[in-house]
Amino acid sequence: MRLRITVPRASRDGPERPVDQTWELDVPEGATVLDCLEELKGRHDGTLTFRASCRSAICGTCAMVANGRSILACRTQARQAAARGGRLRLEPLRYHPVIRDLVVDLAAYWRHYAAIVPWVTPAPGSPEREHRILPRDVERMGLAETCIHCGVCLSACPIALSDPDYLGPAALVAAWRFVNDSRDTRRRERLRIVDSAHGPWRCHTVFNCAEACPKGIDPTQAIVRLRGLIARERLSGRL
């Protein structure tokens, strides 16, 4: 199948004024969007810039927008992502400054992630090596710990358009994960951090993030649960 692949390319006028470039490519059955990009870079235009590493949805670096949908290029088949007529438009992730072509600056994403204190602070006297937790505690975290930080959820979220300070689905999923970690001692502090106008209360339960997540995580579920937990803690006067 022949696809017409379009990528907004960096121009002399700066990254905010990209110029579309289109290639025609014969795409075999099963080829991913990343396969197509590598073919383009290797055989057609070596200046085409994108991020990729593991090719197996583990590193999360090849996130981008394909025909309006935020995806991981390595696990999305090009033929399926293409529109009628074989058109496939690839764009950089939304809400981030473009560095070049399909590469964005994820500094804001990581700043929001760092804001929720994404590490375990164990109590004094905790085991220094293996610190076991119960299976039910792991279950409560859901799939949160499998997040690969690709940024697809944030790119799919329409709320981030109106609020650049919105912590975003990934950071809130991480908050839920650490709030439920029985080894951690900063639960309340973390809840106080996320309990803001830019935290879980900003979410409008659109579910775009849940549909887009390439790892099957449901950020909306974590956000809804965070809201419930904050409400209960506040009503009981503990927060």
Binding site: V65, N67, G68, R69, S70, R89, E91, R94, S155, A156, C157, P158, L161, H204, T205, V206, F207, N208, A210, E211, A212, D218, T220, Q221, V224, R225, R227, G228
Partner: protein, 129 residues
């Protein structure tokens, strides 16, 4: 234009359109309430002014508007209940099933509530057996 929208927001997902429906129906209901207050306020100006305002609402365009208000109220209410149920009973994982269920409930309610209005608009009368 469409490309500019596509670049800024992920609209090619069902959740986005359900959210938009919720927002637009909410704004529509708020506009209707404002209009309702303005019209009822005409009573202060006397019977003739009020009747004049009411004559305006007898036009087919406003009748169609009444139908739109019924649809907007039902859609907004049912979707609101869906979102509250997801929040209250931790039903995020069953979101898609909840969506189809609420769409069915809203569809039935719109058919029941909207049919008499539509028949009235078309100058027909509903005859029940």
């Amino acid at each position: 234009m469409l490309r500019a929208v596509s670049e800024r927001v992920e609209w090619r997902r069902l959740g986005f359109w359900v959210w938009m429906l919720r927002r637009v129906s909410g704004l529509g209901i708020a506009f209707y309430l404002l209009l309702h207050i303005v019209v009822i306020h005409q009573l202060v100006a006397g019977r003739a002014t009020f009747d004049q305002a009411m004559d305006l609402f007898a036009s087919p365009a406003f009748r169609l508007g009444e139908l739109a208000v019924v649809v907007a109220c039902i859609v907004h209410a049912v979707d609101g209940v869906r979102v509250m149920a997801i929040e209250a009973f931790d039903l995020a994982r069953a979101e898609r099933r909840m969506l189809w269920l609420s769409a069915t409930v809203a569809g039935v309610a719109v058919a029941l509530g909207g049919t008499p209005l539509l028949l009235h608009l078309l100058g027909l009368r509903l005859v029940l057996p």
